[in-house]
Symmetry: C5
Subunit: 261 residues, 5 copies
């Protein structure tokens, strides 16, 4: 579980509810109509904007923003180093067995391509095409969240307009003006909260997560091609480390030197 | 029929109407003036912004967002594979007859160019120019919808201003303030609803549809040039599959293996 | 006259006036102060943003959005074909006389360069530089209209603020609040209407018109260089047709075939 | 003095003041607090956004938007032509004396580089680096004005919020509501006016001025390198004229022909 | 300490507080709920949008906007000149000792790479990768501040909506409307002030600071590679000066000439 995302949403809601309870009660804010218009309207318009298959895929991708990324780039370099050592000592064919132990599907597929003796140019091509599709899919996921982030406040305003129009039509009893207006404003409140605490920040986290995943996959592509080219495992490791930010690289080095010492 | 687009609009309207009927009646919202200002104003300004021919073309293109795309990329690859086999076995001239059975106009035209013995460079040129024009036309369609998506709320606000000004001029009877203001706000309601449930989401779906159509046509161009070059149908198929997303590619492969087994 | 632009503006105004007259009278909307602040302010700020010469040029260019484009690309291809035939039969020098009959100034200038025996590289260079200046000038025209489109609502709001401030200062007689507020809102109404029915849509139409003119001039450059290179008129025609959208190209072809048959 | 910029600001203010005086008095609008919050806040935030040195430089650059550009591109071509003639007749070293008569600092510096026998590649490098720095500095000047153009309305709104909050806290005497609200709105009025009549249009004029200056300097670089290469003054002039818009080029040509005739 | 940033914020606050105290008291503005919703909500949503590690890093980077940049580009050129002289006279290995006196970590690391006899191509590669990571990190820092700059007004509005809804629900005592509304508006006031005096200007200053730091590091990379190539210290200095703006370059030259004289 990614604590940041979940804690951010929960703590944000706590702050908002604290503000609500300081001067009123939460029950006032549970307005079924408002929820229907904002959430129903946003989701309906999203389905006008995107085909069903893409929306479902986006939901799967969004769940990533909530799940903790377990595979660190350094672990991938470690895995590739292991594969490179196996290939060096026992030949490329020995990778077939090793591939079974590889958890990452993309890396496993790449290893199988090497074992099958696929032409290096084709290996690069296939893996990079797949990378491009992964990137495209992530971008669509972000796009859907950003679309929802702009639709939610719009439907919030539409709901508030409906509330105001309904109230203004029947101005018989002045004492009902206040409560009716309060209800009308709740829809705008929902739209703003959904957009600013959920959709827009999630779209941003997805962008960052996508960048990390692309980096991990680029390391894999580079590593796989180097293994296929029969490069020295030590040199492969150095090459892949260039993909890491200097800070992590330095940590790795210190750890290594510790081991060597 | 593309269920997503139509269902999205209908379900969105149901949510909005549910919100309306919870506190009022739909009849209040049927205001001829408001409809005239928002829809009339938006369409008039669209005609100032775009020539008539482009607006009509955009309407035709928009209808695509409502129609289900029947031709899947995998079917195109299948068609091209059939053509490649015919060309291989019976020669390029035999494609003339085969071309008659091809449904897609773009593909048919490409086949006829090959049959006519057009220079490969010229074939690519002609097809890619046509592709560029298709893309351009799609972009204009989106552009018109986006323009309408920004004009509708603007004319909604203009209508509300008119309503407010008319009301404020004659503040004799306080009891009419409410209903007059309600009527004034209906125009803003219309503008927002049209923009956020119709124009903006439709522009987005059109963009996605355009991308799919361009992909299909790119597969055709690549396939046609490979057929003309006399490449092996099996190799052509592999080449074209690289255009498909990995997921669909895997499905195809499994199906094939099932057939082979 | 370009009917689309003028009809769009007039019909749009009719819709807006219909809305006004449904609940009030047009006379209320004729407020000299509002007109002075919105139009005067917008024009003044435009002169701060752009030098006088550019604003005048923009007005000339904008008038194009109102005038019907008479020269179709197919007519240009026809003209060039005629010139190519003359050059073929009677030599490049014979073009001097033919050039006098050419209406388009740009084309005429190009023909004179050829007649003068200018180096082909220099001809291309001179014509393309001129093309770049035309494009630049069109972009500035659009830029001025877009600037006005964002200034008009801003000065509309400034005018409304002035109206509100003046009204609020003297709240002696409650019966004047409504009419004063109505007058204040008229300025916002003017700003919005000018921006959304006039400036922004006109900027867009200018962009499309500019694209068409650039296309026409590109066809001329390509044609002139082909004539100078002594290419076959028939081949020149085919080459230039590649600049046309497929639909128009097909129409031309059918017409031709009709003539030939 | 650049009449356009100054006249635009003054005439714009006249329109606004005419609107003010039609329904109130200018004195109402002289509110010290409002001026302090809008101008003080905008300038303070600008200093948070930009270092002091850059803000001062931007002010110097902005003053250009008020000053009339005296050096026309045609005059520069004329100057360079004179230098080219001197270099041709009396040798490059004779330029040292001629350089003293050159007003433009950039051109003078370039001439001195040539006189010093600097390598042509290095001359181009040095001058183009300087050009890049000039462009960078102009962009920062525009950036500061644009930042102020978005800060001014924001602080206008902040001031209005303060005014409203102060008023709402002490609603004892209903007769003070109007005047207090009027005062609150004055801050928004200031912010809008500053942004739309001053900052945003000035940023735009600066952009156009920068483009003109860069063009002039590019002509100088090209001319200087041609002089150093010992090209014919006549040919240099023709080459530099290609930088001019066709309209001015034609005027020059007609004048020349008049002289020759 | 960077006076501009701190003074800008403090002076901005003074102007705002002066405005507040002119018509009310600062105590009214100390509303715990408002502060909780705006600051709490903004920070929570920022944690949804960015992982914890990046937010912490952004805070470290932001502190740079408050700290005075002590190392001027001219000092770096001076340092590199010293290193170049040492390398020239005593050989590359003598740099090891000299490196200890180098304050900048990046420069020191580069010197050590040279001392270790790393291949020049690899030195450039390693340093430029590190430069790219520094740039990336700065961009993320700006991105976080910009995100906060758009979240703060959004949560300000959410807080105001809560205040209005709570107030409207209980319209029993008209005398409480004013004060309740005042409290509601305070949240919007906080959001606007934080965004426009703090987050958005700070993001901008960070961008400028980042540009300066990248320039300094680029000078170092160029200098280190020149030292490694054994170039003449005098020539290295000239080369590096091309990175400086002309104004500073001129100052340096005058100082030098003064020294020489």
């Amino acid at each position: 579980m990614d604590l940041g995302t979940i804690a951010g949403i929960i703590v944000g809601l706590i702050f908002v509810f604290a503000g609500i309870m300081a001067g009123g009660s939460v029950i006032t804010y549970l307005n079924l109509e408002s929820i229907l218009i904002v959430i129903g309207g946003t989701i309906s318009a999203t389905f006008v904007a995107y085909p069903l298959a893409k929306v479902l895929e986006a939901m799967k991708i969004t769940s990533k923003a909530f799940s903790k990324e377990k595979v660190e780039p350094r672990d991938i370099i470690h895995s590739i180093n292991g594969l490179a050592n196996t290939a060096r000592k026992e030949g490329l064919l020995a990778l077939e067995e090793a591939a079974e132990g590889v958890e990452d599907e993309f890396l496993q597929k790449g290893v199988m391509l090497i074992v099958d003796g696929t032409d290096p140019e084709l290996v690069r091509n296939l893996l990079e095409t797949e990378l491009a599709f992964v990137e495209e899919r992530h971008k669509e996921g972000q796009g859907i969240l950003e679309t929802m982030g702009s639709l939610a406040p719009a439907f919030g305003m539409i709901g508030t307009l409906i509330g105001l129009i309904n109230m203004l039509r029947t101005l018989d009893d002045p004492s009902t003006i206040g409560p009716s207006m309060a209800v009308a404003l709740i829809t705008t409140f929902y739209g703003s909260l959904l957009a600013n605490l959920l959709f827009i920040p999630l779209a941003n986290k997805l962008k960052l997560r996508s960048k990390e995943e692309i980096l991990r996959k680029e390391i894999m592509v580079e590593g796989l091609l180097s293994i296929q080219a029969g490069e020295n495992p030590r040199i492969i490791e150095e090459k892949l480390k260039a993909f890491l930010p200097p800070k992590i690289r330095k940590e790795l080095q210190q750890k290594e030197e510790g081991v060597e010492a």
